[in-house]
Subunit: 317 residues, 2 copies
């Protein structure tokens, strides 16, 4: 893990509420980068809290969020988007007056709407979305390097104090991320097309395959190397988190989904009409985006991403 | 690369027609496994033929397929499905009377229909589909290990002689593959759901994203780690090959696509209706298929498939 690009004043205390993949990765990264002198963790589940103690992720573990946040300079909500408002309401009484609150939710307009009303006016609120993750969940799934060289998007309201934004930006830089600031509404539109609709499609095709009568599930599994396998990985992500994303980014998801369906209908007509040139054109122009991703260093051009050792090269037909 | 599970009589001569990713991987694997004393290669393109000479992939390189196949015990067509019939017609005059012909196309009923009529009755025809590949193309993209521990599906017609099937089976086992035999029609249905429709969807969502006005292409590329990136990789595969797949597996693709669209409409309604339990159920049951793939050893459960070093872990939101 690289050094933070510039020093941040180590905080006295941070509180992390919710110990899933993201929360536990922040805890590990915060420890390693010395982001705070004290890390306090809260989780609803006693099983998870026990595991947090065993993994030594925290200096202190609290069942109740309103106790975990006492005297914290920064509080990061790492709970499903659907309960962010409830947790904010519960913890608000414990916040010190100059605390900064952030979160890690995959939708942002709904979080602004649901959380801000419960926070004292003196408290800064800087919603964040680290665009990073794996398909695994829980406190054991986290790792300190998860955010390194990944993007983290901040979506503060327009009137938020600059030094609150700066504090959250510095924390994410210390965790290794590149930070970008945009409006919550724009974030939700961007993520609808780069993440939410792709996940919906992946879940959907895996569901379609599971329901077939003519093709057995065992055949689907055996011959998944032809492309399907990548969809099953995406579709293995946490169901609660994804349910909440679709319930809370409904507008942007439905908008992008309707465009996808319109384009898919056009592709279907090209197959029905045996329109070879049209299909060739579609299959050619999508390569430019792929090249852009490789050039940006978000991906490698190697054919198998190091999977060759495991004999799992993708992209067969 | 493991030893072949049982010895095969090394063939005197094999001919490989077409030097893309698959053809050049077969050439490399055949050399390494000593599958034939002589490897003869043909390709339409003089540039590719020069490259084959430079890479030393062949004992002999021929421009004309009818010359490449002379005296070959086994001829493997590694050309796009759309031209398989034309190439078969062209090379037929050069085939010896007890030759076996195979191919590597991703659709099989069309290949049986297009190729068999041009082959002498004494020649065996055993279509094959190695379910393996990468998104890269051309003679430099191949590697000998591509087929190791991957499935290869044979789809001979019912009246095909058993020893021809056995020869092709042995060659694929020597290349490291697991071999399964099924009808061409069933193959085309299985691959429509495990490969062809997933590719169509991947190309399609990448196209939708490229056309957006509200979200810039640079934003799509930057924030692709949320799931979209996996689609761009699938959508970077060879356009000619994929055009031909959709033109030649039209029936099965349209059938599976219509089921996918019906399921997608149902998911869309769940979002519109804010049906949380319905979405949760959809996102939960798809995990079983993922587990099956991991248990079968076609994939690893590691969160990033060895990508962690490159900081490219997938599945963020």
């Amino acid at each position: 893990m690289p050094e933070a690009p510039f020093a941040i004043p180590p905080l006295k205390r941070i509180a992390i509420i919710g110990m899933g993949l993201i929360g536990s990765s922040i805890a590990r990264g915060a420890r390693r980068q010395n982001i705070a002198s004290e890390i306090v963790i809260s989780d609803l589940s006693p099983i998870v809290r026990d595991r947090v103690v065993e993994l030594r992720l925290a200096d202190r573990v609290e069942a109740r969020p309103e106790e975990a946040v006492i005297d914290a300079d920064l509080v990061i909500l790492c709970v499903p988007v659907g309960v962010a408002g409830d947790v904010a309401k519960q913890m608000a009484s414990g916040l010190k007056s100059d605390a900064v609150v952030s979160d890690v939710g995959s939708v942002k307009a709904a979080v602004l709407r649901d959380v801000r009303p419960f926070l004292p006016a003196s408290v800064g609120f800087v919603p964040a979305h680290p665009v990073a993750g794996t398909e695994h969940s829980g406190p054991d799934a986290g790792f300190a390097e998860l955010f390194v060289n990944r993007w983290c998007i901040l979506t503060p309201a327009e009137n938020e104090p600059a030094n609150a934004i700066e504090m959250v930006r510095n924390v994410w830089r210390a965790l290794g991320s590149n930070v970008e600031v945009m409006s919550a509404a724009h974030h939700d539109l961007v993520l609808a097309i780069t993440s939410h609709v792709p996940h919906l499609i992946a879940y959907n095709i895996v569901g379609t395959a599971a329901d077939l009568e003519e093709v057995t599930r065992s055949e689907v599994i055996k011959f998944s190397a032809g492309g399907f396998r990548d969809f099953t990985r995406i579709a293995a992500s946490d169901p609660t988190m994804w349910r909440d994303i679709f319930l809370h980014n409904k507008g942007a998801v439905l908008e992008m989904l309707s465009r996808f369906k319109k384009d898919l209908d056009a592709a279907q007509r090209m197959i029905e009409d045996e329109n070879g040139p049209g299909l060739f054109e579609l299959f050619t122009r999508t390569r430019a985006i792929r090249r852009g991703i490789i050039e940006l260093g978000q991906e490698t051009a190697a054919p198998d991403f190091g999977r060759r050792g495991a004999q799992n090269s993708p992209g067969g037909s």
